[in-house]
């Protein structure tokens, strides 16, 4: 019997994941809160532009309101919404997840525990995802990371799901490289460290991921930001984990962990990425994930007595952009450097 799969949140990354699963013959239902996107893909199918492929697939797509008339349940739900949209989509989909189903937290930030709190730890699998994509027009997605440079780390966060990671790995392997990781929450924090560097700071200066590090002062800045996030994570009990397909020896004993991770991200995303997800949020006038990434570092730092001034600057400047008081601009690097504590 074919498993029933739902992808809840089919923005750029959710659409890329759905398209690859559909291409490989899986029974996929796409569910999203953006009506124009759902209507477009229903009418014309979903289009993904990869560097070496134009992928076009027919889809089954639902508005959120269609769930109440669906009368079916899913074996697997991949949650690919924004990190701040974690609890409510989990509550929304909960009645439609089978008792022995698995829900996969694919988002940035530490959302796996939120999901477990809603649908139960025995139905939760955590996932670290490295994939970059963009969507500006309904139905049309640009995927920046190729399948070989897309990486997933899946893992259990509760003994009750031990051994079931393969059920998810067998699906995600159609989208990118998928490893089963022992300490997935540490892996998610490692990704959060990368995000503290690679998202909001680059969105503030409004440049490509590949170009931002070349701005004068940027490299020192991101090391500061990442080191704070690493320190807070260590105090929280998260160990350095090889993510993005790095080998343990590549991160062990290095005092350049933050840089190693960051260089890998730049290498994988490559020059193809035009705008990271936070910059896309700014361009769309939409709330970004900064509160759950840099903001989380500040919050946990305050609780643990660790100073996190660099992340605080990033949160403050991002809020100014969201409030319309500042625009993403390469010139903001001067502001960043000036505000950054020495």
């Amino acid at each position: 019997m074919s498993k029933k799969i739902a992808v809840l949140g089919t923005g750029a990354n959710g659409s890329c994941a759905s398209a690859d699963l559909i291409k490989n013959g899986f029974d996929v239902t796409m569910i999203d809160q953006w009506p124009a996107h759902i209507e477009m893909i229903r009418a014309n199918g979903l289009h993904i532009s990869l560097a070496d492929e134009e992928l076009h697939v027919p889809v089954r797509a639902l508005h959120l309101c269609d769930l109440a008339t669906l009368n079916e349940k899913f074996d697997n739900v991949f949650l690919v919404t924004k990190a701040y949209d974690a609890r409510w989509p989990a509550e929304l989909i909960k009645p439609f997840l089978k008792d022995d189903g698995l829900m996969v937290a694919m988002q940035n930030a530490m959302t796996a525990e939120i999901m477990a709190d809603v649908v139960g730890p025995s139905r939760t699998i955590a996932c670290v995802m490295e994939m970059s994509s963009e969507i500006f027009h309904p139905g049309i997605v640009r995927r920046n990371t190729s399948r070989t440079s897309t990486w997933f780390g899946v893992g259990s966060i509760d003994p009750s799901t031990n051994g079931r990671e393969q059920e998810i790995q067998s699906l995600l392997s159609h989208i990118g490289q998928c490893d089963i990781v022992d300490n997935v929450l540490s892996g998610k924090w490692m990704k959060l460290i990368v995000n503290t560097i690679g998202l909001a700071p680059f969105a503030i200066v409004g440049t490509k991921t590949s170009e931002a590090p070349n701005l004068p002062g940027m490299r020192e800045l991101i090391i500061k930001i990442g080191t704070e996030a690493l320190e807070v994570g260590q105090k929280l009990g998260y160990s350095p984990e090889p993510i993005f397909g790095l080998k343990p020896e590549e991160i062990e004993g290095t005092n350049r962990l933050v840089e190693t991770l960051f260089d890998r991200l730049v290498a994988d995303v490559g020059v193809r990425s035009l705008r990271n997800c936070t910059l896309q949020d700014h361009m769309k006038g939409r709330k970004s994930e900064v509160d759950l990434i840099n903001g989380r570092v500040v919050e946990e730092g305050a609780r643990l007595g660790i100073a996190t001034p660099a992340n605080k600057v990033i949160v403050d400047l991002t809020r100014r952009i969201e409030a319309g008081a500042l625009k993403p601009d390469p010139k903001n690097i001067e502001l960043l450097v000036k505000m950054m504590p020495s």
Binding site: Q33, W34, P35, I38, E39, H63, L64, C65, A68, T69, N71, K82, Y84, D85, R87, W88, P89, E91, L92, P95, K284, G285, R286, K287, E322, A323, G324
Partner: protein, 341 residues
């Protein structure tokens, strides 16, 4: 200062309320999960056709759920008028947009006030009982059965942190109907649940209209349902309180309490209302609220070792309709009575 108001969930009842508040000149945004309805309202405004004749038109500000992330607004008051089974996720969705001293008011059937309090904190929650019948089948167009002067809201606080705060909401809600401030709003909501347990699932499964003459056996079944619900309400500690405009004298010591409640609902809505909310759900192939109304009675009764076979029968037949095994039909009454034993 003008309060920023949102109506979250603008199906039939939410639309009626939002139209009245908008036309009263209040600062109201409508937020809903049904894209076609939102698009119709954005294009043409909201059209409310009154059963008693006449129509209301409102130029409303309507938004999709996904617009919240780019609205950059916080609300003083949010009226949640979604289906009661959609309560928790809606409350979680709107939580970041509710001011710290704002209120989320569940204008819904079912015991949703405690769920809302669990999400946004008791200090930001007010309870509300609503008596308003309306119908929506075409995006942007609502049929309102209960006239504004017959529409009733019972509004109240149920936590020490916000006693008396209901008085801030009353001036807003009164544009949509009569508002009574009620002392024990959870008891009042349970009284509404008593009515709903008798009338919604039953009329839904036979495809009937409460205002019309009922098939043989229906009245007895409704009385059994109401008695079971009252019994578990008493076990839960909810006193019998007057709602939908009845007075204490009218309900006190009455051995016809349940019949009085049904008669009062009927006198407020009148004949020719069209399908009730549960029958509308069946016709749309949509999940109904029976699980959180009759189902709640069954669940709470079971916890206390009490029997609620009539409510269990309604849940069972309704489930078969949702599963597509049965259609709303007068013949289903026999099945329900059999199952109730």
């Amino acid at each position: 200062m003008n309060k920023k108001i949102a109506v979250l969930g603008t199906g039939a009842n939410g639309s009626c309320i939002a139209a009245d508040l908008t036309n009263a000149g209040l600062d109201v945004v409508l937020i809903d999960q049904w894209p076609a309805h939102v698009e119709a309202m954005q294009a043409n405004g909201l059209q409310i056709n009154l059963k008693q004749g006449g129509e209301i038109h409102a130029k409303v500000r309507a938004h999709h759920l996904c617009d919240l992330a780019s609205m950059n607004e916080m609300f003083d008051v949010v009226f949640l008028v979604a289906k009661s089974y959609d309560t928790r996720w809606h409350a979680e969705l709107i939580k970041p947009y509710l001011k710290e001293d704002g209120f989320l008011v569940g204008v819904q059937n079912g015991m949703t006030a405690e769920i809302i309090a669990d999400v946004v904190a008791p200090s930001r929650t007010l309870g509300c009982v609503v008596e308003l019948s309306s119908y929506c089948s075409t995006p942007g167009e609502i049929k309102r059965n209960t006239a504004a002067e017959r529409t009733w809201f019972g509004l109240g606080s149920f936590h020490p942190s916000n006693v008396g705060k209901e008085a801030e909401i009353e001036p807003i809600l009164k544009h949509a109907g009569k508002v009574d401030l009620v002392e024990d709003v959870l008891a009042a909501k349970f009284m509404k649940l008593v009515i709903n347990s008798m009338t919604l699932g039953t009329m839904g499964l036979i495809g009937g209209d409460l205002a019309e003459e009922q098939p043989a056996g229906m009245n007895e079944l409704m009385m059994r349902l109401g008695e079971e619900t009252l019994a578990v309400g008493e076990a839960l500690g909810h006193p019998i309180v007057p709602i939908i405009g009845l007075t204490q004298e009218e309900i006190e010591g009455s051995n016809r309490l349940l019949q009085t409640l049904i008669d009062t609902v009927n006198s407020h809505i009148g004949p020719g209302r069209g399908p009730n909310t549960t029958l509308q759900d069946h016709l749309k192939g949509r999940l109904s609220e029976v699980n959180v109304i009759n189902g709640l009675v069954v669940e709470e009764s079971a916890k206390r070792g009490m029997a609620a076979p009539a409510n269990a029968a309604i849940v069972e037949v309704t489930q078969r309709i949702y599963a597509g095994e049965l259609k709303p039909d007068p013949a289903n009454l026999k099945l329900a009575i059999e199952l109730a034993g």
